[in-house]
């Protein structure tokens, strides 16, 4: 069972990455530009407005391009979840020593938990 599952997971990981590549990269790049607005405002207010608009389009409303955009957003979000889960499975299968991976995951979870706690307390 284990032997049969790995190639399937690997294919799922690769193809979910392909879906992400085309669409989610745009989100990450425009998001990065939004969070570094002060340093990257050289493009002027017009360019900034366009980036903001592109990054914030959401919901199943409007004309056909908007509906397709929302569908792509859902597809990308699901592909990202699949990408993370399958990637984690592949790491479990590929690496014998798990200590470094567990330490990194715990570090990232602790940071995320710390931020959540700081805003909840």
């Amino acid at each position: 069972m284990k032997k049969n599952l790995y190639p399937f997971i690997r294919v799922a990981h690769t193809w979910s990455a392909f879906v992400l590549l085309g669409f989610l990269l745009m989100y990450f790049i425009t998001g990065f530009m939004l969070s570094h607005e002060d340093q990257l405002s050289g493009g002027g207010p017009g360019a900034y407005k366009t980036i903001t608009r592109l990054h914030r389009i959401h919901g199943y409303e409007g004309d056909l391009p908007h509906l397709l955009y929302a569908l792509m957003m859902d597809l990308s979000s699901l592909a990202l979840l699949l990408f993370v889960v399958t990637g984690f499975y592949m790491w479990l299968k590929l690496e014998r020593k798990k200590a470094y991976g567990i330490a990194l995951l715990l570090l990232a979870c602790a940071l995320t938990g710390g931020v959540i706690w700081s805003f909840m307390k």
Partner: protein
């Protein structure tokens, strides 16, 4: 071969480190598109009062910032959320997890703090947009800002290294290239149409 193995390890380990943010990004994106009921903002409110001298002569936005700093609150104090009426000043201090409404009474030298808690899921989703830059932030918020940037860089790296690893080993190179090109073209078309 050793370089390829190293690349694969870097691809895997950086991915593990970024996994929590990628999950937050994916879940919050789904919520932005669908507005799930259980993820919406809570309305649990706690009210407390503090005796404090109030520098009433300051302009509205500076007074709001001064009150926030005096009370030791973390958050943004939007200019458009300030108002004055008959010896009282009202403003808001907002962060991803809470919304504080501050009502300062100059005669009584008293500040009433109404603390609205947004709830776990709203906070979880708000981390999507939180870049770590917030007034009166702590070191954990600074680290979060760096973490978010690392995740963006990782995604770019994962894309490049993933394509390289795929092209090295897989037989379906052409099919993969066609799918990536199709999605990239679709993405570009959307950007041009929407812009």
């Amino acid at each position: 071969m050793r370089a390829q193995r190293l690349l694969l390890r870097l691809h895997l380990y950086a991915g593990i480190f970024c996994a929590p943010y990628l999950v937050i990004f994916a879940v919050s994106s789904l919520d932005i598109n669908h507005r799930f009921g259980f993820m919406q903002e809570g309305n649990e409110t706690v009210i407390r009062t503090v005796r404090q001298k109030i520098p009433f002569g300051l302009p509205d936005h500076r007074l709001a910032a001064a009150l926030r700093d005096t009370l030791g609150l973390t958050g943004w104090a939007p200019r458009w959320e300030t108002s004055r009426a008959k010896g009282t000043f009202r403003c808001k201090v907002i962060h991803p997890g809470k919304e504080f409404t501050l009502t300062a009474d100059s005669a009584a030298e008293r500040i009433t703090i109404s603390e609205k808690r947004k709830g776990f899921w709203k906070l979880f989703n708000n981390l999507h947009m939180f870049g770590g830059d917030i007034p009166n932030r702590s070191w954990v918020h600074v680290l979060w800002g760096f973490y978010q940037d690392i995740c963006v860089v990782y995604l770019l790296f994962a894309a490049c290294s993933g394509i390289f690893l795929f092209a090295k080993k897989r037989k379906e190179r052409i099919a993969g290239l066609v799918v990536v090109s199709a999605f990239a073209l679709l993405s570009l078309l959307f950007m041009l149409t929407m812009a």
